[in-house]
């Protein structure tokens, strides 16, 4: 084992660049081996996969029943024409935003803490978009006609209504799915090659070989890889902002009180990133524990991500306050009555679930101890997921149930079909994700190798050569961190 100089103990502010190092990861071989090991299937994983498939089948069954009987089996009560499905759609689209933010925007900003979590986040993005994309279809009255929203040439010369935000959605979601899947795949290429090289099973070796596009680790490949990666990051960056803005136009473009607000695009984007980071915590914290990756995804990384989470929570809180303020300040009786009904009237419970989970609880992240307590982070992330689902619920359904026409004010309660399809969506997402984590590396092998000290000869280790970073001690035990 190489011995290196004991680095200076870092005492300055905990800014991301300072603390991205992985002190317990020492060699490239260790990286490949340890990450390679996470791919071995376990019984718990198999059980989880079966559970996910069971949930998916429940949702599928509910959907088939709904297609057969009609949408009436769900809880819609007009004029609440959009219910749990659209809530869940926006929820999953939002989840999908953290991945690209982490992999693209933070890459461009050189925020080093992204390195260990971005693969998970990116996979999560792709699967979340795959999940989200189902919902606009299964919420249709005639889902078998969904392709009419796509502009394809036809002899009737009927095109979609390009003024409709729903058509914009089609473009936004499909673009986002394409780009984020490409980005994910692009990042996976060197890792496929690494897996191919260490794989013994000939079939899997062959598959990894095909997937790696014959990657040979040559300089020219790396140069192209880096340029392409940079290009894709730059390309996806505006998408992070535009996709959820487009989704928000579904609501902001309508005249419904509570929807018709210019605030919606930034509000939705911030909410999406917030919920996405919440979901990243929900996923990465168990993974780093169960896959023994604590020395890869270090507390410093989580700490940095938690700060991002706190920041977006504050944006979201500002948006809520602005919304409430405009409800009062706008002077529109209709807006005011709707807002009052949302927060203090019929829907107070949903609004307060949202406010508690999304603005009050995340304030705990001001304390570093809690930012570094994985138990709390995980718990908080569940609350954030819940709160962000309710945020969409609170935006959509109280608005529709309390519109211009008082005669048509109504109630809304989802039925078991709604819940089954919501469960099914989690099953669908989990199924893909579970399949992913046992077939593809959940942390980027190649990029980890970039941030650990390069293999130097022992003789030169001490003097003369400045390595890229400082190796810190493995973090001391913190509350909630158990092995």
């Amino acid at each position: 084992m190489a011995t290196v100089a004991r680095p200076r103990v870092h005492t300055g502010p905990n800014i991301p660049e300072a603390n991205i190092q992985l002190p317990s990861v020492e060699t490239y071989g260790q990286v490949t081996d340890e990450i390679r090991r996470t791919l071995n299937p376990t019984k718990a994983w198999l059980a989880g996969l079966l559970l996910a498939i069971a949930a998916l089948l429940i949702g599928l069954g509910a959907w088939m029943w709904q297609v057969y009987m009609g949408l009436g089996v769900a809880g819609y009560s007009p004029p609440v024409m959009w219910g749990v499905y659209i809530v869940t759609f926006v929820f999953w689209v939002g989840i999908g935003h953290a991945g690209t933010l982490i992999s693209a925007i933070l890459y461009l900003f050189r925020a080093g803490f992204r390195t260990t979590i971005y693969r998970c986040a990116e996979a999560m993005t792709v699967f979340a978009i795959m999940t989200a994309g189902l919902f606009p279809i299964l919420h249709l009255g005639r889902p078998w006609k969904f392709f009419w929203l796509i502009p394809y040439p036809n002899w009737r010369l009927i095109w979609p209504q390009f003024k409709s935000p729903l058509v914009w959605d089609v473009f936004a979601i499909l673009t986002y799915l394409t780009v984020s899947a490409t980005f994910l795949y692009r990042g996976l290429l060197p890792d496929f090659a690494a897996l191919r090289d260490s794989e013994r099973n000939p079939l899997r070796k062959k598959i990894y070989g095909v997937l790696s596009f014959g990657w040979r680790n040559s300089d020219i490949e790396w140069r192209h890889f880096a340029r392409a990666y940079l290009f894709l990051a730059a390309f996806s960056t505006p998408l992070v902002l535009s996709v959820h803005s487009t989704v928000s136009f579904d609501f902001a473009m309508a005249n419904t009180p509570g929807w018709h607000a210019t605030l919606f695009a930034p509000y939705f984007v911030a909410g999406a990133i917030f919920s996405g980071i919440g979901m990243v915590f929900t996923i990465i914290i168990p993974i780093r524990r169960w896959f023994n990756l604590k020395h890869y995804v270090t507390l410093n990384h989580l700490d940095a991500a938690a700060k991002l989470c706190l920041f977006t929570a504050l944006i979201v809180a500002t948006a809520y306050i602005t919304e409430f303020f405009i409800g009062w300040y706008g002077g529109s009786e209709i807006e005011h009555s709707f807002w009052y009904n949302r927060v203090f009237g019929q829907w107070w419970w949903a609004a307060w679930i949202m406010l508690t989970c999304n603005t009050i609880l995340p304030l705990s992240l001001f304390w570093q101890k809690l930012r570094r307590n994985t138990t709390w982070l995980f718990t908080l992330s569940l609350f954030i997921n819940l709160g962000m689902w309710f945020e969409r619920f609170v935006i959509f359904d109280p608005s529709l149930s309390h519109e211009f026409e008082p005669w048509q004010w109504t109630r809304y309660a989802p039925t078991y079909i709604d819940w089954a399809i919501l469960l099914g969506s989690f099953g669908w997402f989990s199924m893909w994700f579970l399949l992913f984590i046992k077939n593809f590396p959940v942390v980027a092998i190649a990029e980890i190798k970039e941030i650990i000290p390069p293999p130097l000869r022992v003789a030169h280790a001490v003097e003369g050569i400045e390595v890229t970073g400082m190796h810190l001690e493995f973090e001391p035990e913190t509350p909630g961190e158990r092995d």
């Binding site: 009609g70 024409m81 009255g141 005639r142 005249n255 048509q408």
Partner: protein, 1010 residues
């Protein structure tokens, strides 16, 4: 092929046509997944029948005893819609909801399909010949044994020749005259009118009055001939500044009460004390004390009545007042000089002549119970249901050895009978009626019988012929021949009258039968030990319960409470607050006669110590739409009759109410009953209207509908469609909507005005819309999806707001928060066909778009069901097919077999998953345009109208082309009362112009509401 090819050759274009046609045919056959439908043309066309072209046959409505005239729209041998007959003296082209729903009785899936005979506990099908043979035997036996003289025949009350014919037939068999029964008739009023004026029902000239005071007389609901009364009342109110003020005194604010400017609540049965005190025969203070009415209100009313000349005072004898009350009011009318001015005995309504009192029917039932009646025959009425439970009618029927029903439906009475000889539906039968003196209205079949039924008159003729003694009297081959023979002027006149539905002349009138038995002495009005007076009132839609098997009437919100598919008990708001009762709390309502558990409806319009229940629900039989829906309010009532008239007293007992602690949702279409000054239903006082209009102020009024908007409403699409894309956008102020530049736009702009000063909130338009546009009902018990929480509750879909009423009547309360008087505003809400429609740009597939002539069009075939349009519609007038209501194989199918014969062939039946909404009856627009084109002319102003406007008994709705000033709608749209809903907030440019309601506040009082 070249251009010079011979005509005999197949040219290129023809070849392509043939190719296209055969290709399409092949594709169509290849694609059909279901079955091949065959369209077989007539080999010999039946007379008058042109395929797919409607014939309108004039006939008479038999749903209540008023005998309005109808036109039966019949196409390809099926009658599918009833419309009012414009030539008829009573309804003058309008038709109420119950009349329109008659077609659902005709095609009712639960009708008897043929005669039935009792075998053990079941009624089994039998052949007509056998049935008639059996009845002949029974009649001959009865005739021979002399027991026939004790037989009872209860017939539905109707005017015309049939009652006389029936009596003649009964006499031939030695049976006493029949009982002509109408459970809804106000016998107190009929009796008093006969005494005062010599006629059962004088016409009421509402427009001649300056003040109308009604003591519980619900002349807009079910009291008397409601359609003509409503027409006259609306005409009177449409005089605006010259219109009468209307004061309603009664325990419950009915639909009629809601149309009143002032309501004075009082306890039921105390109206007489109030009337006497107001006339000066007693102290107002005592009357106020006894009735619970406010003394100051009574004083004001007294002064008003003294001042107002002429006035019109009305009273109902049904709530316990009886003959005495109506007589007192009639005398008062006389002394005020109103008779001949506002009360017109000379223009009587004769439909109610010859009616038997409720007490007589009850006496007959009592005789049955004592075992004195050997045979009972019932036609068209359901006494087992309509008699209060305490009369024990079912028990009485069980004691009659031989019971015959001529009912078309398996109702509570016919289910007990031994022989059922189902009558034709009135749409299948011949008949006549005399609505007013000098006018005969004819009833003719619109189509061949749907089931194996026979007209009762023909059955009676057959029975007469089969009897040796009677045969000579019944020589006519059938009843139609008999009618023609009796018609004044013979065949020629009859044929001429049949064309119009009405002819002149008088039918021999059946004398009012002598009262068979004196009614038992009435119990005092407050019998019973509870704290609350009980008012039972006939449902506006279900009538005496006979409407309950017609889904349109079940899915017809009560005009006042807006509840349906349920029975509810109305509790005063203050009382409810005191007792901690909320709407939906199940209350145990107990009277000495029975107990019901009903959900409460907290209601401002009911007297503090009174509760009210609508009558008509709670059938135990009567088909899938009626059975086990709601409760029968009659279970609580004693068999109590007005001594003088023998009329049933609908308010005669006190009840106690106790919260059971359970809760159910009230099946209502009401969201919020307040409009929070959102400018939906606007009103102005008559004084504001009298003041000269301020032109400048008008420009700034919220939602103002100055006519300039309307042509502007023709959308730019119109210009595009006419190839004038560049030129139309000119005027800066109006943007794309340029009223100054009409020539660049479509020729017509379809629009509608709704005059809220006329609208009474009766909802006939709602049923008319259901009938015309194939709107599915959603609340029937069998349509409910079973979940853990809602197990087939009637109206379960409505609880989720899924009713499909393309036009709905919103009912908003104004004022009254302090417990004082309040105002009711009705506003029919339908698709506004906005010129700048929010629904249009959001549809991703162009399923909704704007037509060049200003219609907001919904393309069902293109709709994928995103429902975004509904989210974006501020009026919430778009309705979604949550289930396959229009798909025959679905459990929610709204038209089970034969009900689907009613479907309007001009209108698509929508499948599941698509959005639908008011189309402004586009099928009628296009039909008129095509007819005009075929006749090489323009569409004439007011040539046609929408179904809702046509049916409206208040003539509140006017439809037409707003761009052409010859149309009435274009003129009405310029009325200074006009406004648009939400135009100000949302810039939608609606095509519907509402004309503000005009209130007539009490002289000297502050105007209520804005």
């Amino acid at each position: 092929m070249t251009e010079t090819s011979t005509p005999s050759g197949v040219r290129r274009r023809e070849f392509l046509k043939i190719l296209g046609a055969t290709g399409a045919a092949t594709a169509a056959i290849g694609c059909s997944t279901d079955r091949v439908d065959k369209l077989i043309p007539y080999l010999n066309n039946p007379d008058e029948t042109v395929p797919m072209v409607s014939n309108f046959y004039a006939s008479t409505c038999r749903e209540c005893s008023a005998s309005c005239g109808v036109l039966m729209e019949t196409r390809d041998g099926r009658t599918f819609k009833l419309e009012g007959n414009p030539d008829h003296p009573l309804n003058r082209g309008a038709l109420c909801a119950r009349g329109q729903a008659a077609v659902q009785g005709l095609y009712n899936p639960d009708r008897y399909r043929g005669p039935r005979l009792r075998k053990g506990n079941a009624l089994v099908p039998v052949k007509w010949d056998d049935a008639i043979k059996l009845l002949t035997e029974k009649l001959t036996q009865a005739q021979a044994s002399g027991s026939a003289s004790k037989a009872v025949f209860i017939n539905r009350h109707e005017s015309g020749s049939f009652p006389g014919f029936l009596d003649q037939w009964l006499a031939a068999f030695g049976m006493p005259p029949h009982l002509s029964h109408d459970a809804l008739a106000d016998h107190g009023a009929i009796d008093a009118n006969r005494q005062s004026y010599g006629v059962a029902w004088p016409s009421l000239a509402f427009d001649a009055a300056t003040l109308i005071v009604s003591f519980g007389a619900d002349f807009l609901d079910t009291w008397g001939a409601s359609v003509p009364q409503q027409l006259d009342f609306a005409d009177a109110r449409a005089k605006l500044t010259g219109a009468p003020r209307f004061v309603y005194v009664g325990p419950r604010r009915s639909l009629t009460g809601c149309n009143a400017d002032t309501w004075i609540p009082c306890r039921p049965g105390t109206e007489l004390a109030i009337v006497n005190a107001l006339r000066g025969q007693g102290s107002l203070g005592d009357a106020a004390q006894a009735s619970g009415a406010s003394e100051t209100a009574l004083q004001a009313l007294q002064q008003e009545i003294q001042r107002a000349k002429p006035s019109l005072l009305l009273a109902s004898g049904m709530n316990g007042g009886g003959t005495a009350l109506v007589s007192a009011v009639n005398d008062w009318n006389k002394s005020l000089g109103n008779v001949g001015v506002t009360v017109l005995p000379g223009k009587a309504v004769t439909s109610l002549e010859g009616i038997s009192s409720d007490a007589d029917v009850a006496a007959a039932i009592e005789r049955m119970r004592s075992g004195d009646v050997p045979m009972v025959m019932v036609r068209g009425v359901n006494p087992v249901f309509t008699s209060p439970k305490s009369a024990k009618a079912a028990e009485a029927f069980a004691k009659v050895p031989f019971k015959v029903s001529f009912s078309s439906y398996p109702d509570e009475t016919s289910e007990l009978c031994d022989l059922v000889l189902p009558d034709h539906h009135p749409i299948e039968a011949w008949g006549d009626a005399q609505p007013v003196p000098g006018v005969i209205t004819l009833q003719q079949p619109g189509m061949d019988p749907v089931y194996d039924t026979r007209q009762t008159a023909d059955v009676l003729l057959a029975l007469g012929k089969a009897n040796a003694k009677a045969a000579a009297q019944f020589a006519a081959p059938n009843y139609m021949r008999l009618l023609i023979d009796h018609f004044p002027g013979g065949t020629a006149q009859f044929t001429a009258a049949l064309q119009k539905g009405v002819g002149s002349g008088d039918l021999p009138r059946r004398a009012a039968p002598a009262r068979a038995a004196q009614a038992p002495a009435a119990a005092p009005p407050s019998a019973g030990s509870g704290d609350f007076f009980l008012v039972v009132y006939p449902s506006a839609s279900l009538g005496d319960g006979s409407g309950a098997n017609k889904p349109w009437l079940q899915e017809f919100p009560d005009p006042v409470t807006k509840i349906f598919w349920q029975t509810w008990v109305e509790v005063n708001e203050r009382t409810a607050q005191r007792l901690g009762i909320d709407s939906g709390d199940i209350l145990r309502v107990e009277s000495p006669n029975g107990v019901l558990e009903l959900p409460a409806y907290v209601f401002m319009g009911i007297q503090a110590d009174t509760v009210a229940i609508a009558f008509g629900q709670g059938h135990t039989a009567y088909g899938r739409y009626a059975a086990n829906v709601g409760s029968n309010a009659g279970d609580l009532l004693p068999a109590s009759f007005d001594t003088a008239s023998g009329g049933f007293r609908w308010a005669s007992t006190k009840v106690s109410i106790v919260k059971t602690g359970t809760f159910t949702q009230v099946v209502t279409v009401e969201g919020s009953s307040r409009q929070y000054n959102r400018g939906i239903a606007l009103a102005m006082t008559v004084d504001e209207l009298k003041a000269p209009p301020k032109e400048e102020a008008r420009e700034k009024m919220p939602g103002d509908a100055s006519h300039e908007y309307l042509p502007g409403l023709r959308s730019p699409v119109a210009a595009d469609a006419q190839g004038a894309i560049q030129s139309s956008i000119k005027t800066k102020e109006m943007g794309m909507y340029d009223p100054k530049n009409w020539s660049q736009m479509a020729k017509r702009r379809w629009a509608m005005t709704i005059d809220l000063a006329r609208c009474t909130g009766c909802q006939a338009c709602v049923t008319a819309c259901y009938a015309e546009n194939n709107i599915p009902i959603v609340g029937a018990p069998y349509q409910q999806v079973h979940t853990a929480f809602l197990h087939g509750v009637p109206g379960g879909n409505v609880l989720k707001g899924r009713e499909m009423n393309w036009i709905r009547l919103e009912r908003y309360w104004e004022g009254g928060e302090d417990g004082g008087d309040f105002e009711t505003r009705f506003v029919p809400m339908l698709c506004q066909h906005c010129g700048n429609a929010p629904c249009e740009p959001v549809c991703p597939v162009y399923a909704t778009y704007h037509s060049p002539d200003g219609l907001n069009v919904q393309v069902y075939n293109r709709c994928v069901g995103t429902r975004y349009c509904s989210n974006n519609c501020p009026y919430k007038v778009r309705y979604f097919n949550w289930f396959g209501y229009g798909e025959p194989h679905r459990p929610q199918y709204a038209w089970p077999e034969r009900m689907n014969w009613q479907l309007n062939p001009d209108v698509t039946v929508r499948g599941k998953g698509v959005m639908e909404k008011c189309s402004f009856c586009v099928q009628r627009i296009r039909e008129s345009e095509h007819r005009a084109k075929a006749e090489n002319r323009e569409v004439r102003p007011d040539e046609f109208t929408t179904s809702c406007a046509q049916a409206c008994p208040s003539k509140a709705i006017t439809f037409g082309d707003a761009a052409d000033n010859q149309w009435s709608v274009a003129q009405l749209a310029q009325d200074r009362r006009g406004y648009h809903v939400f135009q100000e907030q949302l810039n939608t440019f609606p095509a519907v112009v509402y004309l503000k309601k005009v209130n007539h506040p009490a002289p000297g009082s502050a105007p209520a509401g804005a």
